[in-house]
Amino acid sequence: MIYGDKNTGVLVQGATGKQGEFHIGLMNTYAKQVGGKGVVAGVTPGKGGQQVHGVPVYNTVKEAMKHHDIGASVIFVPAGAAADAIMEEAHAGITTIVCITEHMPVQDSMKAIAYARMEGASVIGPNCPGLLSPGEVKMGIMPAGLFKRGNVGVISRSGTLTYEVVDELTRAGIGQSTVIGIGGDPVIGQTFMDVLERFEKDPETKAVVLVGEVGGNLEEEGAKSTSLPIVSYIAGVSAPPDKRMGHAGAIVEGGEGDARSKIARLKKHGVPVASRVSEIPEMVRELFRCGC
């Protein structure tokens, strides 16, 4: 497993908000199914003493840490408060921080991620769906019904597109070790390279599907860094230059990050790239067949 397993106690910041409450419910339903610890504590400043789906809520992360064994956190606070939430958790000693919050200003992301790095914490996101290791742990908002346990890791910059890929894999009988959405913003904590490094050390993961988007060159950087067999898909081939499609990750940067040149660079490096999501399962099978 990477980042967490059944025994990981999870803290949720923004526990009493609409999103936080809803997803604590879903995460703990999943934890119950697989016999995991799930969400053990919530934090909302000023709401200490309340309960959400039976989970105790505290005013600060430090207070929650005193009463519970916490290995990871999931953040659902509004965009303006997300940097503070990340830094509070890193400062309190949480080492895996998943930030679901979208629309976080980039300056805030840069500062919070720099601070977390100094405290030795890994940030996943912001603007991401979190991660799910089938049969072990769900940290975030992924719809658990689509998943099946297996040996393929999935790393993606998208949310729903990740579910589409997982759905295709599961229908084709290909299970997943861990599926992780690293976020669609220009500045994110864990990149393809960081996650691939973890997958390399994970005995459950034999191959990886890398789902990228236009913008930047993190996909190529990641593909070059690993010895694991990879299949890739890059969204945004039809994106017009300089147009923004939903998040900043889709800003095409001076020809560098556009989808076609990204695909060309991946292929040059020997990574097979699917033209459609529905081609991915067959390409993964091909990886296993040739053993390469």
Binding site: V106, M110, V237
Partner: protein
């Protein structure tokens, strides 16, 4: 959102970076009483929201005698299809040397990236390609409020010392104004000192609120309407309307349209947990685009309730054909509602897109 040149110059001037003497005019008449203030020779620069305006004829030289006439000429022009509504009139500088300075967000290091070169000016992109070694780069920890002297030495080499404080002032602007890009090109030396001859600032759309910017000018009226509903929306020029949830999935739907030889009319991401009212608004918005002949709805997710989506599509009551792919909670009920009304539902995104391309070709 990209600030116009005069707005960017106001920001850097307020931070203490010298800019050429000048003022903004909205008609040629506004220039006439001030003709004496800019010296003998001055520059008229169209304030239009496009790049490469100099090469497109948006920057004209003028003097006291010709000023009003040249301004009239520039106001009558269209620069890359945009009318000229504002002109920045600026004193001409006696340029000795042009430098390039910019600060941007580096995705790989997740930190501000500062670029400086002694070979500045309009050909900066050519320089970057042909002589990358001339461009000095430094990444800075964003928790630092100013760059330490060693970073400035690494960047500046033998450039004049007065540039050091300017780099630090621009860095502060980058941090405090929520910039994705803060650029001075060229930064020029003259007998009267160092000046920012041109400036560009792009403000993070996610920070417009706290920067006091209420209207995002980069959006078209329909894009602004979409923003009000909380949709991400981009206008394109095909006949197939697209509604999806999540930027990645919606983008992949557009890519698939291109793969099958069709052309998308738009990108619309309704966001998570779409309720019937939101779906109705989205369908009506896309249907209001005159070129749209058919609409593809591709929604997937555990939170999205298919019966809500179906109700929204039906309530929109539009005349164009709607082809739907839905997966999620209450799928059977959604299907029942839609098929009762004669809507077409298909199982995969490949199938819906293929069908839409067939309909439009």
């Amino acid at each position: 959102m990209k600030l116009r040149e005069y707005e960017a110059k106001n920001v850097i001037k307020a931070a203490g970076i010298p800019v050429p003497a000048g003022f903004l005019i909205r008609s040629a008449d506004e220039l006439t009483p001030h003709l004496g203030e800019l010296g003998d020779a001055f520059v008229l620069k169209a304030q239009v929201d496009v790049g490469g305006r100099g090469k497109a004829g948006g920057i004209l030289m003028a003097d006291k005698a010709t000023g009003t006439k040249v301004a009239q000429e520039l106001f009558a022009k269209e620069i890359k299809g945009l009318p000229v509504k504002e002109i920045l009139a600026e004193k001409r500088l006696s340029i000795q040397h042009e430098y390039y300075l910019s600060i941007t967000v580096d995705r790989s290091s997740k930190q501000p990236l500062i670029l400086f070169t002694e070979a500045g000016g309009v050909e900066i992109e050519v320089t970057a390609k042909e002589h990358p070694e001339l461009i000095k780069k430094v990444v800075a920890n964003p928790l630092m409020k100013e760059l330490p002297p060693f970073m400035l030495r690494e960047l500046m080499g033998s450039a004049p010392k007065e540039i050091g404080p300017i780099i630090n002032k621009l860095y502060r602007i980058f941090l405090e104004k929520d910039a994705l890009l803060a650029e001075i090109n060229p930064l020029v030396t003259t007998p009267d000192g160092v000046f920012a001859a041109d400036a560009k600032i792009i403000v993070d759309d996610n920070a417009l609120g706290r920067q006091g910017i209420t209207v995002n000018r980069d959006l078209s009226p329909r894009e602004r309407e979409a923003e009000k509903h909380g949709f991400s929306y981009v206008e394109l020029d095909g006949a197939i309307g697209v509604i999806g949830n999540g930027a990645g999935l919606t983008m992949a739907t557009l890519d698939l349209i291109e793969y099958y030889g069709g052309k998308a009319a738009n990108f619309l991401d309704v966001g998570g947990g779409a309720e019937s009212e939101r779906v109705k608004n989205a369908v009506q918005l896309v249907a209001s685009v005159p070129t749209v002949k058919v609409i593809v709805v591709n929604l997937l997710g555990g939170i999205t309730k298919c019966d809500e989506v179906a109700k929204g599509i039906i309530a929109a009551g539009i005349s164009q054909k709607v082809i739907v792919r839905l997966a999620g909670t209450n799928e059977a009920e959604g299907r029942r509602l839609l098929s009762e009304k004669g809507y077409e539902m298909l199982d995969t995104m490949d199938l819906v897109v293929k069908k839409a391309v067939e309909v439009t070709s």
